[in-house]
């Protein structure tokens, strides 16, 4: 066995070695302590959002024009118990009970939800979209299974939250939240029940105080919409969503902002309104937008008959196109018949000189990427496992909206119009894609390599451009001081698809133009809903 003396004997220069040893030990200590002292904690922008404290409570929002509701009283809300009743006193006692011993974690939840109900549920939606935005893995025989709403827990999980699906999901949830809040404001004003922290001075407000009547709870209305619509949109996440809703509602009671009857009335109203949207969603055409092999073949044949090169899936095994009939889905901001009117003219013919020129331009970007263009490609890619481009624009809007100190109902109104515009952008874009069935650049010239994932549907027009044009135009109307920023973002998002070598210039130009047109229709809606009077 070894011994120290044996070890020492093998060291020819013991003195030098001792010094060296010391130095090395110090170095080791330094490098060992260094990483432990460096914090790896990451600050998340969403975590730091401030509590919502509206500059204007929009008390009269009950008069704003709803989207689907025939009026704010379509779903009646019963008068609440008077604050002088024992029933109400008992509800206050629940709050007091919570407030006697609030834990740090409970206070943290209150702070999280205080940023705003519309905001937080929008974030939750984005997370669900990102989680479910994954194309199904192929069957052993090279075909692809389709997610089934009837059997959502079996792989491939329902839904595949691709950009059209996501755009529609954001739109339904946002629009229903808006309608439910319009109705809620009607009853808030009618019944005028003050918040618990105003009624009883011994109740502490853990959120900014508001003069907005608390019955029915605006937070509960929003959560009720989310819980109800998720049954349709993300059926495998109902347990998660319910847990979030319970946490949300509890946080409002703990915060002294709502009594339980405020919550229950709001939840019921939100669910009722959402059910009306669910009925619309079940018949809006999205359920059959996947088409079938006969339709896919017909689209290809029609393209060939026009003398053009048809789109072919570049995936292996070849994947059916993504939702080829999504262009037939019922839009929110205009009639289905208007979709064809909004359709841009045809792309450059695949046999034209202009097409060849644009194809060469894509090849140039494919072969001459630089770091800045790569940054742009990846910043805007919003591909699989992301909240998609509409989700990205929701995030952009959110971070601007929090600076505005809006009421929940104004948040909901602006989110609703933004998301209806992007859903309608998806409809118009998909209409054009499958009307023209234009091939991707890398299909025509295999030398073109892409710097991001190649979407599995025809090229013209660019979805990113259409979404971004619609979003930027509407957001510029809402926040005119940011117009240049939003337009620059839309342009960059569009160019990212050319830089990534997956779109021709014609795709992004036409996409932006159609997007801008849809944005104008969104502005027209905003100008006529009474919210800006």
């Amino acid at each position: 066995m070894c011994s120290i003396s044996a070890a020492k004997q093998s060291l020819p220069n013991q003195k030098n070695n001792a010094i060296m040893k010391k130095i090395i030990v110090y170095i080791y200590l330094a490098v060992a302590v260094l990483p432990l002292s460096c914090s790896k904690s990451i600050s998340d922008r969403s975590h730091d959002f401030p509590a919502l404290s509206p500059a204007n409570i929009d008390l009269n929002a009950g008069e704003w024009l709803p989207i689907l509701l025939t009026g704010p009283t379509e779903f009646p809300v019963e008068a609440p118990a008077a604050i002088t009743t024992p029933a109400y006193a008992a509800e206050l006692n629940e709050i007091k009970g919570w407030q006697q011993s609030l834990t740090g974690e409970q206070k943290e939840k209150i702070k999280y939800w205080s940023a705003g109900a519309v905001l937080r549920w929008n974030e939750i939606m984005r997370q669900l979209v990102a989680k479910y935005n994954l194309p199904p893995y192929q069957n052993p025989d090279g075909t692809y299974p389709a997610p089934s709403a009837a059997n959502p827990f079996a792989y491939p999980y329902f839904p595949f939250a691709n950009p059209p699906y996501a755009a529609r999901a954001y739109a339904y949830v946002s629009a229903a939240m808006y309608d439910a809040l319009v109705a809620a404001h009607h009853y808030k004003k009618l019944y005028n029940r003050a918040a618990p922290y105003t009624v009883d001075e011994t109740i502490q407000a853990y959120v900014p105080k508001s003069d907005l009547p608390s019955y029915p709870s605006e937070d509960a209305v929003v959560a009720g919409v989310a819980v109800e619509l998720m049954k349709l949109l993300f059926p495998t996440e109902l347990a998660f969503v319910q847990e979030k809703a319970d946490e949300h509602m509890r946080s409002r009671i703990m915060a002294g902002a709502n009594v339980r009857s405020d919550i229950e009335a709001g939840m019921a109203l939100g669910k009722a309104v959402a059910e009306k949207f669910t009925v619309r969603a079940r018949t809006d055409g999205a359920g059959t937008s996947g088409g079938n092999p006969t339709i896919w073949k017909q689209m290809e044949d029609d393209c060939i008959a026009r003398g053009e090169m048809p789109w072919i899936s570049q995936e292996a095994p070849k994947r059916p196109p993504m939702l080829p009939l999504f262009g037939k889905v019922q839009p929110f901001l205009f009639d289905a018949a208007d979709v064809v009117n909004l359709r841009p003219g045809p792309p450059p013919s695949t046999s034209s000189e202009l097409f060849k020129k644009e194809l060469d331009e894509v090849l140039w970007y494919s072969e001459n990427y630089d770091r800045e263009r790569l940054r742009i490609v990846h910043f805007w890619a919003d591909g699989i496992a992301t909240p998609t481009p509409p989700g990205h624009w929701n995030a952009i809007a959110t971070e601007e909206f929090i600076k505005q100190n809006w009421s929940e109902v104004r948040w909901a109104r602006n989110m609703a119009i933004l998301n209806m515009a992007m859903m309608d952008a998806a409809i118009c874009c998909w209409d054009a894609k499958f009307a023209y069935f234009n091939p991707r650049p890398s299909q025509v010239n295999p030398k073109i390599k892409t710097l991001t994932g190649l979407p599995n549907f025809p090229s013209y027009t660019s979805g990113h451009s259409t979404f971004s044009g619609a979003a930027a135009t509407f957001l510029s109307h809402i926040l005119p001081s940011k117009e240049n920023t939003f337009q620059a973002m839309a342009l960059e998002a569009s160019l990212s698809r050319l830089y990534g070598a997956i779109h021709y210039r014609a795709d992004i130009e036409a996409g932006l133009e159609v997007g801008n047109n849809i944005g104008q229709l969104a502005i027209a809606r905003a100008q006529s809903d009474g919210a800006d009077q």
């Binding site: 893995y137 992301t386 390599k449």
Partner: protein
Amino acid sequence: MKMLQAKCPLRTLLIAVVLFAFLPGKAQTDLDALMMKKNRLCAGFMYVHNSWDEYWEGTFKRDNLNLGTVTTQMIGVMGAYGITNKVNLIFSLPYVKTKASAGTFSGLDGIQDLSLFGKWQAAKWKAGKGNITLFGVAGISFPVSNYTADYLPFSIGLESKTLSLRVIGDYDIGRFFVTGSGTYTFRDNITIDRDAYYTTQMHYTNEVYMPDVMLFNLRAGYRHSVLIAELFATSQKTLGGFDITKNNMPFPSNEMNMTMVGAGFKYDMPFHKPLSVIGGAGYVVKGRNVGQSLVLNGGVFYVFDFSRKTKSAESKK
């Protein structure tokens, strides 16, 4: 023993190249028990060819016809310098190029990370008929170009600044040896080009938490005169991170684990001893969120002896 200390210690780089190998990898240095003598520099070029056509999505092994075979090639400049007989400074700087044989994805290329390691022969003693030697290694690595990590499997690296601490133990008896080592690598957070991303939840930041990594390596073989020939097994474990979900793309902070086995050699040219060639191969036999890499490498190294010059300089004083 003289023989041992003359060896160029860069042979084992190959393993490290596939360390984080979903894909490309990281040129780390030095898992073996060789030291450069004082004032000697061993420097040269290493070529590494890493390819896979199957990979693990979490624990699900699959191929991907949209990638075909993913190849990462690396040409590295590297060297080891003897500050003393018992303290070496080791560096490496690779150029990396990635490519897929199928599908539309473009590969990328660029200069990756500079690694700087100090290696210290801490103790040596006789044990029976053989010798036991202990080494300590500490080093850092950091990107020297502004590449993106968030385009796996085509990123040229993971972008994280690292600090590694390693302990190596070697036992040799006659012409045979066995060397084991354990490494703990601290990894700094990275920033990506996106301003939000999903792991198992959404993160609204461009900063990505990178879990630390542990590596164990065992190698054994023949080591005598001009030839070293060995077999090795190495295991990498990421201490955190998450699985790639089904049909998703990989992400830099995935839990990338692997076990690789392989063989390598080093041969000093009999006609000119300072010149040596190395070669080796490794294969990933078990993995999680990594490609099943086959790694082939070859290199040419030269030993420069600065000791005479130094001596004459000292004698002038």
